[in-house]
């Protein structure tokens, strides 16, 4: 975790170190941040052996004049929705999404007292399983550092990624949900005794199948189908589908295999020189994912 990109916010966030939530969870170190949450590695007083991860709504706390009470309520609602999804679909500590531990409420000293206790004393903290390990994007960089990544390693990573997403989709689809934000940043490589497992870590990517009101669409530009990206740029709200999820998986696998980020709004190049030595069957598989063929014919879960 570095201060890069956080500016003045970084020092402010560090003021949370040592904060005790519900007399049980103690924030210990700032672990990461994303578009919607700041993550803290946390001690659990009931289980000192096993640190957990606490998620706090991402807001510009260092620029308080530029966020309204409505912004705060909206960010908290998003976190609470993620907590509900995690409680419903959370994993068992071995596979799937992280395991949900608690949704706590407590004071947040980053808010100014001018906002009143209804804001300052009611911050939601989502406590969940901590999955140690690099993200898929970081793992890809590690594999390539100093030498070209070997094909067996890359194909293993691609297989694990595909399996993780298909497994999650098998859980979600029957209950009317999709995982819409497939990107190497939301997939984590967990080191296990028997090898590596890829796990989806951000419950914010789960959305209902079919348009729903009051649900903010999660997306990462580079992994959207080009036509969805173009529609977003034009200000349209395009709901993700099974085909777009499979397309995002295809772009993610392309990233894993080539080591490059896909360009938003452009088709990925399967004739890329980095894929020369890739088995043809894998290239054909990625091609099918990108074209949404699996999803259209058989539905996500059946492949």
């Amino acid at each position: 975790m570095t201060a890069e990109g956080l500016g003045d916010l970084f020092d402010l966030l560090l003021e949370l170190r040592g904060l005790v939530i519900e007399d049980r969870f103690v924030l210990q170190s700032l672990y990461g941040f994303g578009g919607h949450g700041y993550l803290w590695l946390t001690d659990d007083r009931l289980n000192a052996e096993q640190p957990v991860l606490t998620r706090l709504a991402a807001l510009p706390y260092h620029r308080p004049a530029y966020m309204t009470d409505a912004d705060i309520v909206r960010a908290r609602s998003r976190l609470e929705r993620e907590a509900q999804l995690l409680a419903r679909f959370g994993g068992d500590g071995q596979r799937g999404l992280p395991k949900m531990i608690a949704l706590c409420r407590g004071p947040n000293p980053l808010h100014l007292s001018e906002r009143g206790t209804s804001i300052t004393q009611t911050e939601p903290y989502l406590v969940m399983e901590w999955i140690p390990g690099p993200t898929l994007a970081e793992r890809r960089v590690e594999l390539a550092s100093g030498l070209p990544a070997t094909w067996p390693d890359l194909l293993t990573l691609a297989r694990l990624t595909t399996t993780a997403l298909i497994d999650l989709s098998r859980t979600l689809l029957p209950q009317g949900y999709l995982y819409a934000d497939v990107t190497p940043r939301n997939l984590l490589c967990q080191e296990l005794a028997g090898g590596v497992a890829v796990r989806v870590v951000d419950p914010g990517g789960i959305v209902p199948v079919g348009p729903a009101q009051n649900v903010e669409l999660p997306c990462t530009w580079g992994y959207l189908p080009p036509e969805h990206y173009a529609a977003h740029q034009a200000g349209e709200r395009v709901w993700p589908s099974e085909a777009s999820v499979m397309h995002a998986l295809g772009r993610t696998l392309w990233h894993v295999l080539t080591g490059r980020h896909p360009v938003p709004g452009e088709d990925v190049d399967l004739g890329d020189s980095a894929l020369k030595e890739c088995p043809e069957a894998i290239v054909a598989f990625v091609d099918a994912l990108l074209a949404g063929r699996f999803a259209r014919r058989n539905g996500v879960g059946s492949n």
Binding site: H62, R63, P64, A65, Y66, T68, D69, L112, E114
Partner: protein, 606 residues
């Protein structure tokens, strides 16, 4: 907008056409109400409440609280005679101002406190903010010497002026060093008898050619001073090393403070190109900050070291970096510097703005002199302060603050307190103003926007955001402001050119970017048309062809009626190239173009 019947221009907010008497439509998005009132343009019995006040409409700051009022919301006290007082200061029993009424109640003679040297005023972009919800308040706080002050009764503070002048090899051109040399007598002439002058030349080395010399002595020995400059061993060296010169200048400041303890001091740096010791210069910044010496710089020509100069002056009082894009203007600029010395009324000034406890502090900016983004005001202390150096008579100092006000219950809310501290004759003086905003949920209150303040906000917004939309809004606001004020023609041309480029999705080149980021030149001129008229005169003197002369005179008329960017869009490519060459260089464009481009230009005229 014109009258629909006679096509004569309508007066903003008027009910009837002044030319033909036809009934006029309401202004767009305005709520028209009947009332006996006088609007900003005067005389209309119906006002368009909610319509944005046209830029430049008459208005004044209240002499009691400093808030900005349009005339229709003020009264004149019949006892003390002061005008533009806020109606909330009117005593309901006597109809006098609150100060006069209080004196009467105390049975004393009506006395008004003597006008302070400076008055702090303020103006909100939106004079009314919603009462039931939170809102972002944007306010300009400005101050200048009080209007009612008897200028002759206030003596100016003597000045120690320190000039640090670049005489490196790049200055050895007929459009630079000779002009700079000729400007020095103008400066000496313009300074007051009580002032002192220090002059440090720099190139590979540095040379103090005048050390805290009284101006009277400088005037007597002017030829000797110029000779010292001409014969200086550092002249036209192959390096531009400013840091040693800055060190000498700082030494001279300390020396002068011992010699003239009640004098103000001011340092001007003039340089024409990149510095070879930019890092060493940056290291001089703490010393100038500690000295609290006022530091300014001029970029001589378009290739000055803007970023290096800004780094040297960060956090130092003054801190402006102004371009002299047309080097011929240096004489006027030096004359202006000299004249300013007579206007210094106070020194060691500090401006402090403290947000009220219930307001969440946002960002702070300075608009003039020299625009600057200070970032967020400390969220806990809610206090912003800046050292200003010397305060001049007639100069306006303007800051912008943003803060979030919380839901309120009353019709007004305190947003903060502005405080100006300065020294004069050794004593510390303070002027304070409480800043109050209206709170209302009435739609016709909430749509009111002060256009001038909105333009300044748009200009300053571009200091913290660099997306093309924000930059374009800022450029258009600058264009409107500069036109209204009659700014430096080169700068106006640059803004017009930048708008044309940003609209086409192009990026600005390095010189253009530097010119725009620099602080405004103090030079005042007649804009692009005036510059083109000068060009036409020079073409006429050297006997340019009739076709070219006709084209140029037509062009002057066109830019008087439309923006340069609009004219540029209409010109065929060869003529476009000629105008662009002039806008970029400011010199004769026909000398900048090759023979093929000139032929294409002449062909396009026929």
């Amino acid at each position: 907008m014109d009258c629909p019947q006679c096509r004569q221009p309508m007066v903003a907010g008027a009910r009837f056409c002044q030319a033909c008497g036809a009934k006029l439509p309401a202004a767009p998005e305005a709520l028209r109400v009947g009332a006996i009132a006088v609007d900003a343009s005067g005389g209309s019995s119906v006002i368009n409440i909610g319509a944005a006040a046209p830029a430049g409409v008459p208005g004044e700051h209240c002499p009691i609280c400093g808030t900005f009022n349009r005339p229709d919301t003020t009264f004149r006290c019949k006892n003390c005679g002061r005008a533009y007082l806020c109606t909330r200061h009117q005593d309901s029993a006597t109809f006098w101002c609150a100060e006069c009424a209080a004196t009467r109640a105390g049975a004393g003679a009506p006395t008004i406190a003597p006008a302070a040297l400076f008055q702090v005023n303020y103006q909100f972009q939106r004079p009314f903010l919603p009462r039931s919800t939170e809102a972002l308040a944007r306010l300009l706080v400005s101050f200048r010497s009080s209007e009612g002050l008897d200028a002759t009764a206030v003596t100016s503070v003597p000045l120690h002026l320190c000039l640090v002048l670049d005489v490196s090899g790049s200055m050895n051109r007929e459009d630079k060093y000779p002009l700079l040399r000729r400007a020095i007598p103008r400066l000496v002439e313009a300074l007051s008898d009580d002032d002192c002058l220090t002059m440090v030349l720099f190139s590979r080395g540095c040379d103090v050619v005048a050390s805290v010399e009284p101006i009277a002595a400088c005037r007597k020995q002017l030829p000797a001073l110029l000779e010292r400059i001409d014969r200086s061993g550092v002249k036209f060296g192959d390096r531009t090393l400013l840091a040693p010169a800055l060190r000498r200048a700082a030494d001279q400041l300390e020396h002068a403070r011992q010699k003239m303890p009640t004098a103000a001091d001011r340092v001007y740096i003039l340089t024409d190109g990149e510095l070879h010791d930019a890092e060493a210069c940056r290291l001089m910044n703490p010393r100038f900050r500690a000295l609290e010496a006022e530091l300014h710089s001029y970029g001589f020509g378009p290739e000055f070291a803007l970023d290096s100069m800004k780094a040297i002056m960060e956090g130092v009082p003054g801190g402006t970096v102004k371009p002299i894009l047309d080097t011929r203007a240096v004489m006027d600029t030096f004359g202006h510097i000299g004249e300013l010395s007579d206007r210094i009324m106070a020194r060691e000034a500090e401006f402090i703005f403290t947000f009220a406890p219930a307001v969440i502090a946002g960002d702070a900016f300075r608009y003039e002199p020299g625009s600057q983004y200070f970032g967020a005001v400390d969220r806990r202390s809610k206090t912003f302060s800046v050292k200003l150096g010397n305060l001049e008579r007639g100069r306006r100092y303007t800051f912008l603050f943003e803060g979030q006000v919380r839901p309120a219950t009353g019709p007004e809310e305190a947003v903060g307190k502005a405080e100006l501290r300065y020294r004069r004759d050794g004593g510390l003086e303070t002027v304070e103003t409480a800043v109050v905003v209206g709170r209302s949920d009435e739609p016709w209150h909430l749509v009111q926007v002060d256009e001038v303040t909105a333009e300044i906000c748009a200009v300053l917004d571009a200091l913290r955001r660099d997306d093309p939309g924000t930059q374009l809004r800022a450029l258009r606001a600058r264009q409107a402001i500069y036109r209204r004020e009659g700014a430096d023609p080169q700068l106006m041309a640059l803004v017009d050119l930048a708008i044309a480029k940003v609209e086409r999705g192009e990026t600005l080149d390095e010189d253009e970017d530097r010119g725009l980021k620099a602080d405004r030149s103090t030079q005042v001129g007649g804009g692009v048309p005036e510059g083109l008229r000068s060009l036409a005169l020079s073409w006429l003197q050297r006997g340019e062809s009739q076709g070219r002369m006709k084209w140029l005179t037509d062009l002057v008329e066109r830019v008087e009626q439309a923006t340069v960017s609009e004219v540029l869009r209409q010109l065929p490519p060869p003529q476009h190239a000629v105008l662009m060459a002039w806008l970029k260089g400011g010199d004769d464009p026909l000398r900048e173009l090759d023979s093929a481009a000139l032929k294409a230009f002449d062909d396009s005229l026929s």
